[in-house]
Symmetry: C2
Subunit: 209 residues, 2 copies
Amino acid sequence: MEGKQISAAVIKRLPRYFRYLQDLQKENVERISSEELSRRMGVTASQIRQDLNNFGGFGQQGYGYNVEYLKTEIGRILGLDKTHNMIIIGGGNLGKALAGYAKFENRGFVLKGIFDNNPALIGTKIRDVSVMSIEHLEEFLAEQPVSIATLAIPTQDAQQIANRLVACGIRAIWNFAHVDLVVPEHVYVENMNLIESLMQLSYRLNKDH
Amino acid sequence: MEGKQISAAVIKRLPRYFRYLQDLQKENVERISSEELSRRMGVTASQIRQDLNNFGGFGQQGYGYNVEYLKTEIGRILGLDKTHNMIIIGGGNLGKALAGYAKFENRGFVLKGIFDNNPALIGTKIRDVSVMSIEHLEEFLAEQPVSIATLAIPTQDAQQIANRLVACGIRAIWNFAHVDLVVPEHVYVENMNLIESLMQLSYRLNKDH
């Protein structure tokens, strides 16, 4: 990648390409044309060609894409060939659910710790991972290389915890709190706003009446 | 709404307007200019005016927006003045976390039932809601008006369950399974793809190296 700015929309689509290519591989498909991939994915073939051209193309005119090669390359672009250490802040229902989501580890996202401020949770284990006191956050991050922090905590605590994470050098926050975090430019926030997602469904239901 | 087609991007932004207006109301702010709202939300004032013009404007030249009125109107557009009955398919960790998320009820999303195929879960309760056998899904939906079904089940089961839900008249699916559901045009699917969201963070971390 030669420093070219890739649009957020393209980045958002990459994991979907990865998923379809993975499925094709399971079906033992070795090559696929952009037309056939387009039919499967429900997007235009021209969009696929444009998206992939951002990264140099990968296709050969008239031969289509080599499924394994393209999957590997997109995986590399997505950083899935590396391991990312992750922590979860918040050991409540949502934190527990996220900690138990084994699929993450299959993709290289390795859970290293869970933090909470509830004494009843501290010391318990979720899968093999201990819930630690949030007071030990800085200490832990000084010793463990962690790149992704998941916020599964109430809205009112999220910004303050984000500040502490950023001060510890965390560069990626997966935010389930219902708030827009203010962070320095070098820190990435990916918001998973459950209630706003539900509101979009309710908008669409409402519109029909 | 006079049948005008509102873009998905605008719809996606509406819940965020709603949230900021709600916060302003808590701060007892009665009026706000598009410039001040733009500063708070980190979008341009012209985008705010354009977005709101899709629904008739709401603002008065030189006076800005009436916070309470605008919040109420956006809430109405989002269907938040109504109650939406909801069920969750899947009583595992994620289903439990979603069932326990009380914020949904405050916004009018009322959980009516949880379904699973695991005998160990059937008959248990999550909050006040019973986990029922998935075999009774059709029966339940014939008796209870439900508009939103949440899928918190493994990928391989999702399409088949979606088919059953659609056959029962469900028009909105909140999908946490890692698959693109095929549904008729009148059914809305809102995808919450956890792993693809994480992959976007990993892309951004990867790009920095």
